[in-house]
Symmetry: C2
Subunit: 194 residues, 2 copies
Amino acid sequence: MNKAERTRQFIIEKAAPIFNTKGYAGTSLSDMTESTGLTKGSIYGNFADKDEVALACFEYNHKMVREAISNEMAQFPSYRDKLLVYVEVYSNPRKYPLQHGGCPLLNTTIEADDTHPRLRALAGEAVVKWKERLVDLIEAGKAIKEFKKTTDPARTAITMIALLEGMIFVSRATGDPANGKAVIESIRNLIHEL
Amino acid sequence: MNKAERTRQFIIEKAAPIFNTKGYAGTSLSDMTESTGLTKGSIYGNFADKDEVALACFEYNHKMVREAISNEMAQFPSYRDKLLVYVEVYSNPRKYPLQHGGCPLLNTTIEADDTHPRLRALAGEAVVKWKERLVDLIEAGKAIKEFKKTTDPARTAITMIALLEGMIFVSRATGDPANGKAVIESIRNLIHEL
DNA sequence: TTAAAAATATACCAATCGGTATATTATAAA
DNA sequence: TTTATAATATACCGATTGGTATATTTTTAA
């Protein structure tokens, strides 16, 4: 890594949590210069514009979540346990580095869907791939008879995603941990009935 | 309604869909003057600041959704059918005036939770009240033996909310109606198993 | 160690931001 | 119809926005 690559990475690491909490429209260049200690000249020497920083930050935030999930998942041979890792990681934002601002997929989709087509596209592809990974896990579980053969992989996968993001929504909206826990219980139920 | 009250209402009606699509940080005073044809002087003559417009617009957007739901619900005596109204309204954004930008509860919560405490508080209270209305419906259904006595009203209510908002998320993220429909099917299942 | 190249800082730009004081116009009660 | 008052428009404010041209410093390879 040469200097420019290190700086680029440094900017991403500092700006990513800001974009995830304040959103694209809510994050300014001064937020970035402040958090990095760098100047605008330095930032624009490494990125074409604000858009490019935002896109890179989204990918960084999303990668952090994915890595937390797959690291945990590697510990469990059972597919049911692998699926339960999502529940564990998403319901313990303190313990796992979903860090500042919650799920970047949810934040980006809700803010960008009507206003920022490139971010919207990135988030959309990420959700589609997430669904595919879940479908693969559920089909693998069916193949070794861990899950029932009546289980619908596609419907289960997308329902799990909806429940996980919906759980984040009710937690953040009400601020009451009991609401999040109630949804968690429903997700556990869903996984145990596969 | 005197002139000022009519103008205030007019501003809200014009600005509400903009706030719901572009968010609080993304909506500017010029957006409002443009969409209303009024000047800043007129807007600030009827509202103290941008905050007050945003708050009024959130309440307007939320009221529109609530009224669409309760109008439909009045047609059905069965509590199961009443619950299914949510599915109908939330899955047909064209037919019902959830209108521009999707569910204001989801949009506001996701944008405001880290940045705008007053909006956050409004959205939070709205979700709590929504849950309470659902709990009431489910308990009423249990009272007349339409629902099983083993049904957990609180958990069912909050899970339904999570699924409905999660459904909006997967629809908007992927842009694929099939994903939304798959979640819808899961919500219908949930309601039929009560 | 040096010199060319790359990276960063400085200083600036026009445009837009939210907001306000004041002038003008429209309303509404007498 | 008049007149006091309320509502709206005009013209402006300083601060901040995203972005850039250029000067200065730091890397990096010879």
